[in-house]
Amino acid sequence: MPNTPEQHTVTIACTINGRRLSLGVNPAWRLLDLLRDHLGLTGAKEGCGEGECGACTVRIDGLPANSCLVLAVQASGRSIETVESIDPASLGFLHASGATQCGACTPGVVITADWIRRNPDALEHASVRALMAGNLCRCTGYNGIIDGVMASMGFPGEAGACAGGDPCES
């Protein structure tokens, strides 16, 4: 990589969280870099930088994608939605179910969870667990995430009465 501060830039037009923007971007930037370092949208995290963990998940034209695997220039003409665009009022189920612990994976989890909630037909082909498999979480063991997604869609949790409730015996 050349050791020069002067970098070529490309101008792109895109929509980010509903705002139409014209942006000068470096061709080497990833979409994640554009969002975090240049637009101050730090919700999406870099957990691995190679599309495995899903902490950087955003929606591109409605579909969840790893923003570390997409170049910023590829946002041209697209609509990008980050966790900052999600209505906090829609997050109550995930909050109550214990879907977040350390919070580092959470913005990506929220994006995928919100997509599943809006696309219930996807459950005809795959389980909530399979649809969430692109978002690694090291804290929750996934119970809280899965139960929160299911509750937000009006389904009972996986364990029925046990889910999110009082698991205490004796």
């Binding site: 190679e50 963990c53 900052e84 997050l91 929220v110 498999a133 090291r138 063991g141 205490c168």
Partner: protein, 732 residues
């Protein structure tokens, strides 16, 4: 009560170290050894590059002791002249532009004269591999109870077994990161992702020869720790501080995932050998246990990991004669450090696999064999500690059997296995315990302090160095204080863990935070009431009393304080390794239901039941979350997380080929709590965070052994390992 910072995390508003704006900050990076062992001859900076815009720190820039302060000070801040592992820090660079820095770091060459490395902890080192003492042994510990040798002589059965656990990488989703700067008063400041702010304070005061008030350490919201941010943040803080001092500007070091996996600590690999004497009716007569742990290149926390490991080595059973010998040895491998469970998962894995093996060998049902040997109130542990906590240990076992449908599963699986051409199912049990808080006299030595201050508006503020890293400390502390003072949790604030603002409440480790520090907060609440002259005040009358005190003492604030004091009657002899190793223990029975696909040799956990007594539960959702997360982290360790070593460095230091469980790899975890209150834990609680890491691996290995009719004694049980087990069984 819902997690206090939950909505900030769900909306992405929470700011982690990599999210913080830092005007004028440089990026820092680390030049690392590519050699497992050797002597640095020179560090070459490519003359074709103009280095004038870089800040460069080499070992010559270190004016104080070149030592990272841990238990010992054997680990250098920057290796000089000897390097002891691949990935060891040799020099540091900083620059305004991160891409420029990344390109430049590849143009630094470290010339190293190779020396023979010690790479296998299981074999005795050759003379030219010795780097510590006469045998590369960091620590040797021993527990003796009764007379083991005599007990073997007359036993009806003697059963031996060998068990092995691999390393495990923490994979906190937020990689390590730290920002350092020197403030206007010349105070060296570090801010970043960490579990133990005062460990970093000690590292800075030691290395820079400064008094505590001349350094300042602030925890940022921490995206997972699991022990990985117990000891290592001291290293990265020292690196960032060295660069910041030299540059005269703030420096931010954020590890990429591959660097994090290459350079930071992991769970200690361990090899355990068991020899057990049993009577004709299945009572344990003698346990002779040998534990070797790989410590890696430096001591870090290995002596205390080994200590906890051997203390848990004989399991939650009573046996009149026990000998446990443990060694932690040096290898030229990335140092191993703290990881949830802290040595106990390894020794519990061995012991619980061995309990099944012994039951099998003597022709007894493994549940029954455990049932008759589980420690009863009034009986003693391996260190001679009398257990008398009133916990229903047999009830826990029975609950796990009932909830998991253990007996029905055994019958169903027998039918399934008889008819399925390509799948096998098995069910496995593990029974185990975990000592809560620091081992032995550790809590006395820590002498932790926590404060609860009254504020002018009548509300209160919690001041402690305990950190939130996902486990729910912030919420649970708030509940504990609100409960003690009879006030609305909304009137309780929590001060940021900042060493200039909060006392040292000890490290956020060892399942001690709710139980030990929470109890300090309860006592600090009582002290606050005494200070404000309202010993019985609750609710509004308490708020009013604080306001009155503040009005009467302008410019001052009432600060309730409590310092740790051990529960009465707890005695530990660290020389003889006898006595009360922990103030209290938690108890658990876990059942795994597993299926193996004989075509792919992949094992899948179909269902998992986790029954435990961790004292009174402060917050059911958060407590269950600790169990769910711990179990899944342990499923990963048991089945898929395989650190591949090449010359003592992790060769698969990427999430692409070091795989951790996804939602689709794991079942719903059924977590159940018995609640026997503990008098000296906040609101009756005991430690919780680590226990769930101890049991799943042996339960799963027992289930796989049950399904395949062979002994799965080595984890991780990856498809390759299971294939080998099956192949060897066919050839046997």
């Amino acid at each position: 009560m819902l997690r206090i910072e939950g909505l900030a995390k769900l909306t992405g508003a929470e700011r982690y170290v990599d999210d913080l704006p830092m005007d004028g900050a440089l990026w820092g990076m680390t030049v690392r050894s590519e050699v497992a062992r050797g002597v640095v001859r020179s560090i070459e900076f490519d003359p074709a590059l103009d280095w004038s815009s870089f800040t460069i720190v080499t070992p010559e820039d270190i004016t104080g002791p070149n030592e990272v302060h841990h238990i010992e000070c054997d680990q250098p801040i920057l290796a000089s002249p000897e390097v002891r592992h691949i990935g060891e820090a040799v020099a540091l660079l900083a620059h305004e532009d991160r891409d420029t820095l990344r390109a430049a770091i590849r143009r630094v060459k470290v010339n190293i004269d190779h020396l023979p490395p010690a790479l296998d902890y299981r074999v005795d080192p050759e003379p030219d591999q010795i780097q510590r003492g006469e045998d590369n042994v960091f620590t040797e510990l021993r527990i003796d109870k009764g007379g083991v040798d005599a007990a073997f002589a007359g036993a009806a059965h003697v059963v031996e077994g060998e068990y092995e656990c691999g390393a495990q990488e923490h994979i906190y989703i937020e990689p390590q990161g730290m920002i350092a700067w020197v403030d206007d008063n010349g105070v060296v400041c570090c801010k970043g992702s960490m579990q133990c702010p005062y460990y970093v304070v000690s590292a800075l005061t030691h290395a820079f020869g400064r008094p505590e008030e001349r350094v300042r350490v602030i925890q940022t919201p921490t995206g997972g720790g699991f022990g990985g941010k117990e000891d290592y943040p001291s290293v990265i803080a020292l690196h960032a501080a060295l660069l910041a001092i030299k540059a005269g500007r703030p420096v931010r070091i954020i590890y990429d995932r591959d660097e994090d996996m290459l350079a930071t600590t992991k769970r200690h690999p361990a090899l355990m050998r068991h020899r057990t004497a049993v009577s004709a009716d299945g009572k344990l007569l003698a346990q002779d246990i040998d534990v070797i742990m790989d410590g890696g290149a430096y001591v870090t926390l290995s002596p205390v990991v080994l200590s906890r490991g051997i203390i848990h080595g004989a399991g939650p059973y009573t046996c009149p004669n026990v000998r446990i010998r443990g060694r932690a040895v040096l290898t030229n491998t990335t140092p191993f450090g703290a990881f949830r469970g802290f040595g106990a998962p390894q020794t519990h894995f061995a012991n619980e696999r061995h309990m099944d093996a012994v039951a099998h060998a003597i022709g007894m049902d493994p549940v029954q064999f455990r049932r008759i040997n589980i420690i009863r109130d009034g009986e003693t542990t391996a260190t001679g500690q009398v257990i008398r906590d009133g916990a229903d240990r047999i009830g826990i076992l029975d609950s796990a059997l009932t909830r998991s449908r253990y007996r029905q599963l055994q019958r169903e699986h027998a039918d399934f296995n008889a008819s399925s051409p390509d799948k096998r199912r098995g069910v496995g049990l593990a029974y185990f315990h975990h000592g809560a808080g620091f081992t032995g006299a550790g809590e006395v030595y820590l002498s932790s302090i926590a404060n609860v201050a009254g504020l002018p508006d009548g509300s209160v503020e919690i001041r402690a160095a305990s950190t939130e890293m996902g486990q729910g400390k912030e919420t649970v502390f708030t509940q504990i204080v609100a409960n003690r003072l009879g006030i609305d949790p909304a009137r309780v604030r929590t001060a940021t863990p900042d060493s200039s603002q909060v006392p040292n409440s000890g490290p956020t480790v060892a399942s001690r935070t709710t139980m030990v520090v929470g109890h300090l907060l309860e006592r600090a609440c009582d002290d606050l009431r005494t200070i404000i002259g309202a010993p019985d005040a609750r609710g509004d009358s308490l708020h009013a009393a604080i306001e009155r005190w503040c009005d009467a003492n302008p410019g001052a604030e009432p600060v309730g304080a409590a310092r740790y004091r051990p529960p009465p009657g707890v005695h530990w002899d660290d020389k003889a390794y006898k006595g009360d190793a922990y103030g209290t223990y938690t108890w658990a029975a876990y059942v795994a239901d597993v299926e193996i696909d004989l075509r792919t040799c992949a094992a899948t956990v179909r269902a998992f039941t986790a029954v435990q007594d961790v004292g009174a539960i402060v917050n059911p959702t958060l407590a269950a979350g600790q169990v769910h997360g711990g179990v899944v982290q342990a499923i990963g360790w048991a089945l898929m997380e395989d650190c591949v070593w090449r010359d003592g460095a992790m060769a698969n230091n990427q999430l692409t080929n070091y795989i951790i469980p996804t939602a689709d790899d794991t079942p719903h975890i059924d977590a159940v709590f018995f609640q026997t209150p503990y008098e000296f834990g906040a609101m009756g609680s005991k430690g919780l965070g680590e226990l769930p890491m101890d049991g799943p691996a042996p339960a799963i290995a027992n289930a796989i052994s049950d399904a395949l009719g062979l002994a799965a004694n080595r984890i991780p049980l990856t498809p390759e390992r299971i294939f080998t087990l099956l192949t060897n069984a066919q050839h046997a």
